[in-house]
Symmetry: C2
Subunit: 157 residues, 2 copies
């Protein structure tokens, strides 16, 4: 077994464990740094009443807490299924060095998780999306962005 296979096996084991505990859907994820597991997560959407509690989000939050950082520099993400748009976005904000996945978004769709639909919506023009999205009050909001630019004690990220 390669190191990657070993770590993916851990992520898949978490997906089975969470499912067995009725935590949520059959998805698991680990974060690895310097060949050590620094974060673990499994889907907890239905048990936590939290639609953001996907395996990747849980694992990223766990790793960031353990590493005391809001970045996952030099980390690798092993996830039992291709990340949905929310999780892929979370991964990009966390900035790990690589992502490994096993099941695909099409596999997820076949068992009832509609990641593919959300990927399709992302790239559609706003006016034809399933959830209406309306632009308003830009002038008031822009003032806060201007205040951010002028702020001298901010933490950039």
């Amino acid at each position: 077994m390669t190191r990657e296979e070993k770590f993916m096996h851990e992520a898949i084991s978490l997906s089975r464990l969470g499912m067995g505990q009725n935590a949520g859907g059959p998805f698991g994820c680990i974060v690895v740094k310097d060949n050590q597991i620094v974060g673990r997560g499994n889907n907890c959407v239905t048990s936590h009443n939290d639609p953001t509690a996907h395996a990747e989000v849980m694992a990223i939050r766990d790793a960031c807490k353990n590493l005391n950082s809001f970045q996952l520099d030099d980390c690798e993400i092993f996830t039992s299924c291709e990340p949905c748009p929310m999780c892929l976005g979370a991964i990009y904000w966390a900035r790990p060095k690589a992502i490994y996945y096993a099941n695909t978004r099409e596999d997820a769709a076949r068992i009832g998780f509609d990641d593919s639909m959300i990927y399709d919506e992302m790239s559609k023009p706003m006016h034809i999306r399933k959830i209406p999205i309306i632009h308003m009050n830009k002038e008031e909001a822009m003032k806060v962005f201007e205040e951010w630019i002028d702020k001298t004690d901010k933490t950039d990220y």
Copy 2:
């Protein structure tokens, strides 16, 4: 002031408040149901060491906790800036009825938040993305999906 302007003003006020408290970036969001605010959030990435702690994710988690549900049926989201891909994904999973936003992804990019880059990455073929993404071990992971299909006591969502 329309009801929408009133609610957007609340979201923008939260963006300014969080910035002033050095919680994180200048972003605020509220969730509204039946004309009542049921969830609030502002960006807490740097103060919580959590790259997923965007205003929308915080507000969705708060609303779901308050409503004791993993769905935001009949809710409206008011966010001071166009949701990034992570947050738009979170919103789709939460299934509200509408989204209102003020600043745009281009405005966010101009003050240093690279939402646009992540949107671009989402639609690229995997092999040319900035973060390498590698497919492996599908056979082992697929067994867990098959177990999910056969599971008789699962909570679908």
